[in-house]
């Protein structure tokens, strides 16, 4: 039975290894992999540029501008958009009736007001027809629709063509033509569509309506098999997805970068060029340097030729791109050269900021050492970046951070460009430089800032139950599992660096030495008890029990309860079974105090047998503190994610060292015994049955073992003589 329990004692921690999630979790990508390249500020989320919803947005706004031109430029575009894109047919019909009757109605929409005031039935009649056309075409796209010649949809579209064709005015001539083209395409009457296009294409005013009409004509060309013509027309209007469809149709597939080069060759100043470039560079950024090297070398080669042969607009963006590409292939002097050139070519404000971010990154990346001069420069730049974090935080981002900020940070996911950049610079560049220069405490301060800055700013978090609470409340509540403070980079470093750095950090938090200390403290997690609890735990792991007691005594009951430690893990640290001993706050403290007392007794004991027994109890405490009672010395057992956190190897080493130490103490203790009965009893307690029965044969313990030899067979030391 005892043997069984002993085996179980070894196995149970394995079972529990996943029980406590106070451990660094798997990251999707590291902070150095956050996408930085930004020549087209809007899309930092990696959305493919050819399916951008903002294309539609742009088209709609252009159309609204066009409506303003033919009505009144003083009408807000939002009002036009509301009527043109969001009003139902019934609303438009009511508007038309109001316009006809001239009835004064309390109409809030400025565009509608204007139409009523000017009795503009020409526009309202068109808007109704266009809405009908849109509704019918939408019904064609439902899953239940089954096209049949002469069905209601076809008939309705033909009616729209007839009515639109009957318009004799000039003002809306191109708009009516566009509706006809749409209806022809929807009825698959491509020949009529193209004939109409040929007949009226010169009647279009330059702009969005013309481009839309050209798109339908291109579609008709594609349907009748004139793919080349269709391709050219799609390219002219920068409808890249349709263009790619045509390419695909004639089996001429281009790679992603091939499309970019094609776009550049056609028109390096086109609207799609930078969105496409940013998307592709982001894709490369998520690959390893080796894998993306070819792409960046090709980009450099292409841009170098481009600059020689042509003079594209927006040179600042192209130089920034070159600088970025050179950095990715590790040619820093060229990266520096081009970032300086980019700064000289009057970048727009968005790009100027992107350039500044990249310059900070380059500065830190290529710094030789971390010293006061470097720190002052870095501090200045990071104050600017910190201000950007504050000023650019909109409500949408803020809500996202409240809802999923913790998981995004924990998993290394991007959530907000300015915060991402701060984290990238600090975690991937500043901290390693700090540590290589020997400034471990400063490195911890930077990590604390990087991991907690956005949360101190937003100061709200959504719990698993959906409740939104302050961060302080989140950390203090007893029913919420606070995993974040025990899985981020700051904690990982606190937990793996020598305890002296954590102690210094605590001191530095309470006694700031410079303005940077204050700056960092104000934006970090600075709860004294959090650090004291970690320091106490690390001191227990270092067998410095007396010092641990000092730190653990300053941790309150309430704080320990808010850590949500899994109470079944609190086992008796001096027991030989898995008996639970839930002590709450005092679990670590009691252990440290008892170990400290044992140390004193060992030193003071005169009787060698007493001393040996104290030493064995002490050894048992040390052993249990890294096995069944591992919560006394660490925050996770086994660490399933250790492959992603090599620093945790250090913890494993510490455990090995403690195991060796336990063996040394035991060996020494067993040698001290002069009383055979007490020695045999100690052997029995440590499962050394063979030793007890053979080395101390005339003792009560030996007699007991012989009587129960079936259960207490000790194979372990059978062939090796006595263990101690």
């Amino acid at each position: 039975m005892k043997r069984f329990l002993f085996i179980l004692m070894w196995l149970l921690p394995v079972v529990y290894r996943h029980a406590l999630a106070h451990t660094p979790v798997y990251r999707y990508y590291r902070p150095d992999e956050y996408c930085t390249f930004r020549v087209w500020g809007k899309n930092m989320k990696g959305e493919a540029p050819f399916q951008l919803s903002m294309d539609l947005e742009k088209q709609q706004m252009d159309n609204c501008r066009s409506w303003a031109e033919i009505t009144s430029p003083s009408i807000p575009l939002a009002a036009i958009r509301e009527v043109v894109y969001h009003w139902s047919f019934e609303q438009l019909k009511q508007l038309d009736q109001d316009v006809v009757s001239g009835k004064k109605r309390t109409e809030r929409n400025a565009f509608a007001q204007w139409l009523i005031r000017h009795k503009d039935t020409e526009v309202t009649a068109f808007l109704m027809l266009a809405k009908r056309c849109e509704t019918v075409r939408q019904s064609q796209n439902t899953a239940w629709y089954y096209p049949v010649e002469g069905d209601a949809v076809e008939w309705e579209l033909e009616e729209i063509i007839r009515q639109a064709g009957a318009y004799r005015g000039k003002r809306l001539y191109d708009r009516y033509t566009l509706q006809m083209l749409r209806a022809y395409i929807a009825n698959r009457r491509y020949t009529e569509c193209l004939n109409l296009w040929l007949e009226r294409k010169n009647a279009f005013r330059e702009g969005v309506i013309q481009e839309m009409a050209k798109g339908y004509a291109a579609g008709a060309y594609c349907h009748i098999g004139e793919i080349g013509t269709a391709e050219d027309m799609f390219f002219e209007i920068e409808d890249i997805s349709s263009y790619l469809y045509c390419l695909n149709k004639r089996k001429a597939k281009l790679s992603s970068w091939g499309i970019f080069y094609y776009l550049c060759n056609k028109n390096p100043n086109g609207d799609k060029v930078f969105p496409c470039l940013q998307y592709l560079v982001h894709k490369e950024e998520t690959r390893s340097k080796e894998d993306s090297r070819i792409a960046f070398e090709a980009l450099i080669s292409f841009l170098s030729t481009e600059f020689k042969e042509r003079q594209p607009d927006n040179r600042a963006a192209w130089y920034y791109t070159l600088s970025y590409a050179y950095d990715r292939i590790d040619i820093p002097e060229k990266a520096w050269k081009y970032i300086r050139l980019a700064e000289q070519y009057n970048p727009d404000p968005d790009l100027r900021e992107a350039i500044r971010v990249f310059r900070i990154y380059l500065n830190v990346k290529h710094a030789q050492k971390y010293d006061i001069e470097f720190e002052n420069e870095l501090y200045r730049e990071l104050v600017w970046l910190d201000n950007k974090i504050v000023s650019c935080l909109d409500s949408v981002t803020r809500n996202t951070i409240i809802e999923s900020g913790i998981s995004n940070h924990s998993c290394g996911m991007s959530q907000y460009y300015w915060n991402d950049m701060m984290r990238k610079i600090v975690i991937s560049q500043v901290v390693p430089l700090c540590q290589s220069s020997g400034y471990y405490t400063r490195a911890l301060q930077w990590l604390n800032y990087a991991d907690n800055r956005i949360f101190t700013l937003v100061d709200k978090v959504q719990t698993w139950e959906g409740e939104i609470v302050s961060w302080q409340a989140y950390r203090n509540r007893k029913n919420i599992y606070n995993s974040y403070d025990y899985c981020n980079d700051f904690f990982t470093n606190l937990d793996t660096l020598d305890v002296k750095y954590a102690e210094r950090l605590l001191h530095r938090m309470e006694n700031p030495l410079c303005s940077l200390d204050t700056f960092l403290n104000e934006r970090s997690y600075t709860d004294r008890q959090y650090l004291c609890e970690i320091i106490g735990t690390k001191l227990i792991a270092s067998m410095r029990y007396g010092e641990a007691v000092v730190y653990l005594r300053s941790v309150s009951d309430g704080f320990i309860e808010s850590r949500n430690i899994y109470s079944p893990l609190e086992r008796d640290p001096f027991g030989r079974t898995l008996k639970r001993e839930v002590q709450g706050k005092r679990y670590k403290l009691n252990f440290a105090e008892k170990m400290y007392t044992l140390e004193q007794r060992i030193r003071q004991a005169d009787n060698p047998n007493d001393k040996a027994e104290y030493m064995l109890t002490y050894a048992l405490g040390v052993q249990n503190s890294i096995l069944q009672c591992w919560v006394l010395t660490s925050y996770a057992y086994g660490i399933p994610h250790q492959f992603h956190n090599p620093s945790y190897d250090k913890n494993k080493r510490t455990q090995k060292e403690l195991c060796l130490k336990v063996n040394q103490i035991k060996e020494h203790a067993f040698q001290l015994f002069t009383d055979k009965e007490r020695a045999a009893k100690a052997c029995y307690d440590w499962n050394l049955f063979k030793t007890a029965a053979t080395k101390y044969p005339d003792t009560k313990a030996a007699a007991y073992i012989r009587r129960h030899c079936d259960q207490l067979v000790d194979y372990k030391d059978l062939n090796r003589g006595y263990l101690y």
Binding site: A143, W144, D151
Partner: protein, 318 residues
């Protein structure tokens, strides 16, 4: 309620594929056996995401017509509806009606007198399905079109749906997942428990009998999939075992399924003996004046397993 039982002397058959195209054997079958009615699956309705990403009851697996229906044959548009669609979003009767009309028109299927619904409704979905039938029936009756429904054996104990006629499905009677099932297509032993006492069902019933075969792939006593292949004569790949079982000798792929050495294929065929016995059983237990037999389904490969005489026996009204 008007009875729809065929009185013209012609026979009926199901056509249950995603493409309508008849080969010569199938055309000959239609002629030889005087088929006057085809229950033709038009589409299925399932609860799935539409183009906007919203979950709705929408048509899927619409049959593509690559052929016209031979003259003189009445088509009964048949729609399979999943219980999920009926339970989650049953408001599609008008949409289904319009779509059937559109499909019939485009594919030149004229003179539609009947529409059939196929749904494995149970207690929990019964009311939703019956409501659906009532709504559809009111659409159809305006065009003087009758509504029928397939009836499964387990549904015989329930109230009949509000339709004009039912077709009792006398196939798929056993569980393919039970390793002890001898023949899941049709077994007298599986049918008999449902027909121990006389049944007077609320609507007239016709009977549908199977003429298909399939293989059930079994691995470690668990059913993996259904195989349409019925020829396992290649001795380098399969070893005949007792009964209708074949052992897979070598790892290979069949119909996109990965077969491993040691797998068992249970070849199931529609047995004439079982069909005869079941036919006799239903005739004796389901009390009604007349009935018609329908064959499931028109497929030249499957029909080749049966002689013309056997097919006549199935159709014959005793």
């Amino acid at each position: 309620m008007t009875t729809l039982t065929d009185t013209s002397g012609g026979n009926a058959v199901y056509y249950w594929k995603t493409t309508f195209q008849l080969n010569n054997t199938e055309r000959r079958f239609l002629q030889t056996h005087q088929i006057k009615k085809i229950y033709l699956r038009f589409f299925d309705v399932d609860f799935e995401q539409d183009q906007d990403g919203t979950f709705k009851s929408i048509p899927i697996a619409t049959t593509r017509f690559l052929d016209t229906v031979p003259a003189g044959i009445e088509v009964v548009p048949t729609v399979y509806i999943t219980t999920k669609a009926i339970a989650s979003d049953p408001q599609f009767a008008h949409l289904l009606f319009n779509r059937i009309k559109a499909m019939a028109k485009r594919n030149k299927i004229r003179d539609i007198h009947e529409v059939q619904l196929d749904c494995d409704w149970t207690n929990s979905t019964r009311y939703a399905f019956f409501d659906f039938c009532s709504t559809l029936d009111s659409c159809l009756s305006a065009d003087s079109v009758k509504l029928s429904a397939t009836i499964r054996l387990h549904q015989l104990k329930q109230k009949a749906p509000p339709v004009d006629k039912g077709i009792l499905m006398l196939y798929n009677t056993g569980s393919i997942h039970n390793p002890n099932t001898k023949n899941s297509i049709l077994s007298y032993d599986d049918v008999e428990p449902y027909l121990r006492s006389d049944i007077r069902y609320g609507i007239p019933l016709d009977f549908a009998f199977p003429v298909y075969s399939w293989g059930i792939l079994i691995r470690r006593n668990r059913t993996q999939c259904i195989l349409r292949t019925t020829d396992y004569g290649d001795t380098s790949l399969y070893e005949k075992q007792e009964g209708n079982r074949y052992k897979v000798l070598k790892e290979h792929f069949l119909e996109n399924h990965h077969l491993q050495a040691g797998d068992i294929i249970r070849l199931e065929t529609s047995q004439m003996k079982e069909i005869r016995e079941v036919k006799e059983l239903v005739r004796s237990k389901i009390k009604q004046a007349s009935y018609q037999s329908v064959i499931y389904h028109l497929d030249s490969l499957q029909l080749s397993q049966f002689t013309e005489q056997e097919i006549r026996t199935i159709y014959k009204n005793d």
